[in-house]
C-alpha cells in the first residue's frame, strides 16, 4: 500500500504552470529522489505535499495510520495539520528557530503531542511537570542519537552549518513522521559531509521506519542512496526509474546538460 499518492496534481501561479500533471506513488519504506534543473518545480511539489500551496487540480492521498487502507486526501489541509498526520519536512534554506536553543528547537516540534494546556502551564500542575519531563527526555534522546546532545543548550544559530542541517532533520523527526521530505539536505556540504549525510539518511530511514522523498542536486548522493528517481523539468515529469535507468535516459541528460552531454556521477 502506498504511503503517499499524488494523483495528477497541477498548480498554476497566475499564468505560470509551475507543476503540471505530477504523479507520484511512494511505497512504504521507499527512498525516492526528486531531481531536476533549477526552477523545475521540485520545491513547489514539496510545498503542495506539505500544504503550503494548494494544488489547482489533482489530489494527494496520504496513508496516515498504521492501517494500510486508511488513506485520506490531504489537499486543503493546513501545513500543521499535515505535519500532525505524519509528513515532516526540512527546508532548502535552513529554517531553524535560530535564536532558540537546540533543545527548544526540538521541543517545539514535540509540542503538538504535549498533553497539557496553557492553563495547566500557568498553574504548574503535575501534568505540566510530568509532560515537561517526558518532552525534554524525548528531545534529548533524539539529540543523543545524532550526537548533538551535548550542544542542547547552545543557540541553534551558533551550530556549525552541517550540524544545523542535522538539527533540522532531528526537529522534523521529532514530529514522529511516517514520511520525511528532505529539501536539498546536502546543499552547501563538502564531499565528506555529503558522504556522512548519506549514511545518516540511510540510518534514520531504518531506525525510524520512514519513507523518504528527497530533493537533491548532488548526483553522487541521489545516485548513491535513492532506490527510485523522478525527474522534473519545467513542471513536468520527464523520467522516472532506478538510478541506472535515469543515468542513461536521454531526456534527463538533455535537460541537465543539453544535447550530447553525459553524466559522470
Amino acid at each position: 500500500m502506498a504511503v503517499l499518492e499524488a494523483q495528477n496534481i497541477s498548480i498554476v501561479f497566475g499564468g505560470l504552470k509551475a507543476v503540471t500533471n505530477f504523479d507520484l506513488k511512494l511505497e512504504k519504506g521507499e527512498l525516492v529522489g526528486l531531481i531536476g534543473p533549477n526552477g523545475a518545480g521540485k520545491t513547489t511539489v514539496f510545498n503542495m505535499l506539505t500544504g503550503v500551496y494548494n494544488p489547482t487540480s489533482g489530489d494527494i492521498l496520504f496513508n496516515y495510520s498504521s492501517d494500510d487502507n486508511a488513506s485520506k486526501s490531504i489537499v486543503g489541509l493546513k501545513p500543521y495539520q499535515i505535519t500532525q498526520l505524519g509528513i515532516a519536512r526540512t527546508f532548502q534554506n535552513i529554517r531553524l528557530f535560530k535564536d532558540l536553543t537546540v533543545l527548544d528547537n526540538v521541543r517545539i516540534a514535540l509540542h503538538f503531542n504535549v498533553k497539557y494546556n496553557a492553563l495547566q502551564a500557568v498553574f504548574r500542575t503535575s501534568a505540566f511537570y510530568r509532560e515537561e519531563g517526558r518532552v525534554a527526555g524525548k528531545a534529548k534522546e533524539l539529540l543523543e542519537i545524532f550526537h548533538i546532545g551535548e550542544k542542547q543548550n547552545e543557540l541553534a544559530k551558533n551550530l556549525p552549518y552541517g550540524e544545523q542541517r542535522k538539527l533540522e532533520i532531528v526537529r522534523a523527526l521529532a514530529t514522529n513522521p511516517k514520511l520525511l521530505l528532505l529539501d536539498e539536505p546536502a546543499a552547501g556540504m563538502n564531499p565528506q559531509e555529503t558522504q556522512d549525510l548519506m549514511k545518516l539518511i540511510k540510518f534514520i530511514k531504518d531506525q525510524f521506519n520512514l519513507t523518504i522523498l528527497l530533493i537533491e542536486h548532488d548526483m553522487s548522493l541521489v545516485m548513491g542512496i535513492c532506490e527510485r528517481i523522478v525527474v522534473l523539468d519545467y513542471g513536468q515529469t520527464i523520467a522516472a526509474g532506478t538510478p541506472a535507468e535515469i543515468r542513461k535516459d536521454p531526456k534527463v541528460i538533455k535537460a541537465y546538460l543539453g544535447e550530447g552531454g553525459e553524466f559522470d556521477a
Partner: protein, 343 residues
C-alpha cells in the same frame, strides 16, 4: 526534581512577599512619601499593561500599537460595572478584562492575515476606533467629558492607609500578571508562541497551529490590558477617552521596547523606570517629549535590543549561583532560564 520545584515556588512567593512588605511598610511609615507611593502604584499598572503587550509583540512577534484600546475597554467596563451595576471591585476588574478579551478575539481574527507594518496599522486603527466609540457612547461612558466619580479602592479617611491599599491592589495584580506570563512562556504552549515569532513557516511545518496561538495570545494580552485598564480607572477615579489615545499606546510600546522585546524582567524594570523618568522630566515642561524622544533614539542606537534583550533576571537563578547548588540535570524549564541568566 520535586525539591527544585518547591525551592522555586518558595523563592518566588517569598521574594514577592518580602518586596511587598518592605514597600508597603516604607509607605506606611512615610519613608516613601505619598507622591512616590502614587508613582509606585502607577508603575504597577504599567507593568500589567506592558507585559500584556510584550506577550503579543515580544513573544509572539506581532507588532501591535493599540494596547491602550484594550485598556480603555477594560477601564470603562470596570468603572461602569462598579458605578451602574454595583459589582464588587475585584469582580468588576475581571469583567473588564473579559470584555477586553472579547475585543482581543475580534481584533485577533482579521489580524491573522496581516503581518508586520500592516498589523501595526490595523491595531493602531483599532485603538482610535475605541477612542471614538468611547466619546460617542455618551450615555454609558460620559462622552468627551469623561466618567467622573469612580469609587476608589478604599473609603478610608486615612491618606496613608489609602495609598497603601491602592498599592496593594496593584501590586497583587502585577505579581499575578508576571507569574501568568512567565509560567506560560516557560512551557510548551509558550514555546509554540515563541516559535511563531522566530519563523512562522517553520513553526507551521512543525505542527504548530499558528492561527490558534496568535488568537490565544491576542486574547490573553487583551484580557491583561483590560485588567490593567480597570485598575487604572479606579486608581485615577476619572476616565476620559483621551487617556487612551495614540500617545498612551505608544508609551506602552516604548516601555516594552526599552525593557527588551521578549524579556519579562526587562519590562518590569522599564515600567518602573519609565514612570519615574516621565515624572522627573516634568520640570522641562514642553521639552519633555523632545528629551524623551532623544533618549529613545540613543537607546535604540546603543542598545538596539533594549535593556535586557530577551534575557531574564532570575532570583532563584541568582540564589542558586550564590549557594553554588549543584545543577540538577533534570531541571525544569524556568530553572534552566534562571541559571542561564545567572552566568
Amino acid at each position: 526534581m520535586k525539591k527544585n520545584r518547591i525551592f522555586n515556588a518558595v523563592v518566588i512567593l517569598g521574594a514577592s512577599v518580602v518586596v511587598f512588605v518592605i514597600l508597603a511598610a516604607l509607605q506606611y511609615i512615610g519613608v516613601i512619601d505619598e507622591y512616590n507611593g502614587q508613582l509606585l502604584t502607577l508603575s504597577g499598572i504599567y507593568i500589567v499593561v506592558a507585559l500584556s503587550l510584550n506577550l503579543i509583540t515580544g513573544f509572539t512577534g506581532q507588532l501591535a500599537l493599540g494596547q491602550a484600546g484594550f485598556m480603555s475597554v477594560g477601564a470603562y467596563t470596570t468603572a461602569i460595572a462598579i458605578m451602574k451595576f454595583h459589582v464588587p471591585m475585584l469582580l468588576a476588574i475581571l469583567i473588564g478584562g473579559l470584555v477586553a478579551a472579547v475585543f482581543g478575539i475580534i481584533i485577533g481574527f482579521p489580524t491573522l492575515r496581516l503581518r508586520g507594518d500592516y498589523l501595526a496599522i490595523a491595531t493602531l486603527g483599532f485603538g482610535e476606533i475605541i477612542r471614538v466609540l468611547m466619546i460617542n457612547l455618551g450615555s454609558l461612558t460620559g462622552g468627551a467629558a469623561g466618567l467622573k466619580g469612580i469609587p476608589a479602592f478604599s473609603e478610608t479617611e486615612n491618606f496613608v492607609l489609602d495609598a497603601v491599599i491602592k498599592f496593594s491592589w496593584v501590586y497583587v495584580f502585577a505579581v499575578i500578571t508576571i507569574v501568568i506570563i512567565s509560567n506560560l512562556i516557560n512551557s510548551s504552549p509558550g514555546r509554540a508562541i515563541i516559535s511563531i515569532r522566530e519563523d512562522e513557516i517553520a513553526a507551521n511545518s512543525m505542527g504548530i497551529n499558528i492561527a490558534y496561538y496568535k488568537i490565544f495570545s491576542f486574547t490573553l494580552s487583551a484580557f491583561l490590558a483590560g485588567v490593567g485598564g480597570g485598575l487604572y480607572g479606579i486608581y485615577m477615579g476619572y476616565l476620559n477617552p483621551t487617556m487612551f489615545g495614540f500617545m498612551p499606546s505608544m508609551n506602552i510600546v516604548v516601555i516594552v521596547v526599552l525593557g527588551g522585546l521578549g524579556s519579562i524582567t526587562g519590562t518590569v524594570v522599564a515600567s518602573v523606570a519609565f514612570t519615574y523618568i516621565q515624572e522627573w522630566l516634568r520640570v522641562f515642561k514642553d521639552l519633555r517629549l523632545v528629551i524623551f524622544g532623544l533618549a529613545l533614539i540613543l537607546v535604540m542606537i546603543f542598545w538596539p535590543k533594549g535593556l535586557l534583550g530577551n534575557k531574564e533576571l532570575s532570583i532563584s537563578g541568582f540564589l542558586r549561583k550564590l549557594f553554588k547548588r549543584e545543577n540538577n540535570p533534570e531541571r525544569t524549564v524556568s530553572q534552566q532560564n534562571g541559571s542561564r541568566e545567572g552566568k
